[in-house]
Symmetry: none
Subunit: 159 residues, 2 copies
Amino acid sequence: MDRFVSTFTNKIDAKGRVSVPASFRAVLERDGYAGGIYCYPSLDAPALDAGGERLAGKIDALLNDLAPYSDERDELSVALYGDVQVLTIDGDGRIVLPEGLRKHAGLQDRVAFVGLGDKFQIWEPGRFDERRQAAREKVRDHRKLFRSESDKGPGGTEE
Amino acid sequence: MDRFVSTFTNKIDAKGRVSVPASFRAVLERDGYAGGIYCYPSLDAPALDAGGERLAGKIDALLNDLAPYSDERDELSVALYGDVQVLTIDGDGRIVLPEGLRKHAGLQDRVAFVGLGDKFQIWEPGRFDERRQAAREKVRDHRKLFRSESDKGPGGTEE
DNA sequence: TAACAATCCATTGACGACCATAAAATTCCA
DNA sequence: TGGAATTTTATGGTCGTCAATGGATTGTTA
């Protein structure tokens, strides 16, 4: 297992600690884990993006694609790096979410960890449900991409 | 046998476990089985879609067609990865269906496994019957196309 | 020394591994 | 062909382990 998959909802305790799902921790360790996870506010959602070294590498790559002194790159650099927090994982697999991050995602007492393949997001569970409903509507539009293979009639051949 | 065929109805026990039909397990092992099955809510039915590595590969392929950091991809990722559960099969060939999935399909104490070729669906038996009735209505309209088929239904094992 | 952060310890509840039984299908043999 | 024996499959239960959670204790710094 080398991708973040599935959704897990955990509780924030009185001291602001949350357990990172065990399966996510396993992925992080394979992913050049260096004692902490990179976490920053999602650019287009009331959520947090998080991941390990691979995610950090992708951010670098994204910025390197932009012209070195462009306004666009400067703004994106600030937007990404400026808000990045390196959250250490304690001995029991928990992290502490700083106030700024909690506020951006509207986190109260429970958080949803949502696996997205090479990164994962942290959502307030209620908001995530709303977003998921909306996303499913859109996937419905792409249904045709699944159709061609799975709806073939009897007698179809496989590879 | 490398495709999921037939319908089997099994029971959910007190711990939420269900036996995956033996013939389906055989297909999964041929399909690059890696310890679990991928399962998510069907987009257009009160049922669950499930399959092995081949199905997971299709999801990846769909996402890889989209621009890496687009909003569209993020949304689809949430809908697909976020809803996907990796269900491990225990030593006796059983899986546990999490609450969220059970709710979407309206599963109570019995489930119908419906083979669809390269994936299969999981239905609440009553709902599946309704759907099959509807399907028969349509088949009746097109009966001329199926002249040669004399007696049997969808080929299912029913009790 | 008060306040806060990091580490350690304890409880509990869920899940996985394992075993036991029953029903059904298949094989084998008279 | 009939029926007994064996294997496969479905289902039920038990027990141990680990993850999630809550609380305590130590350390650090203003």
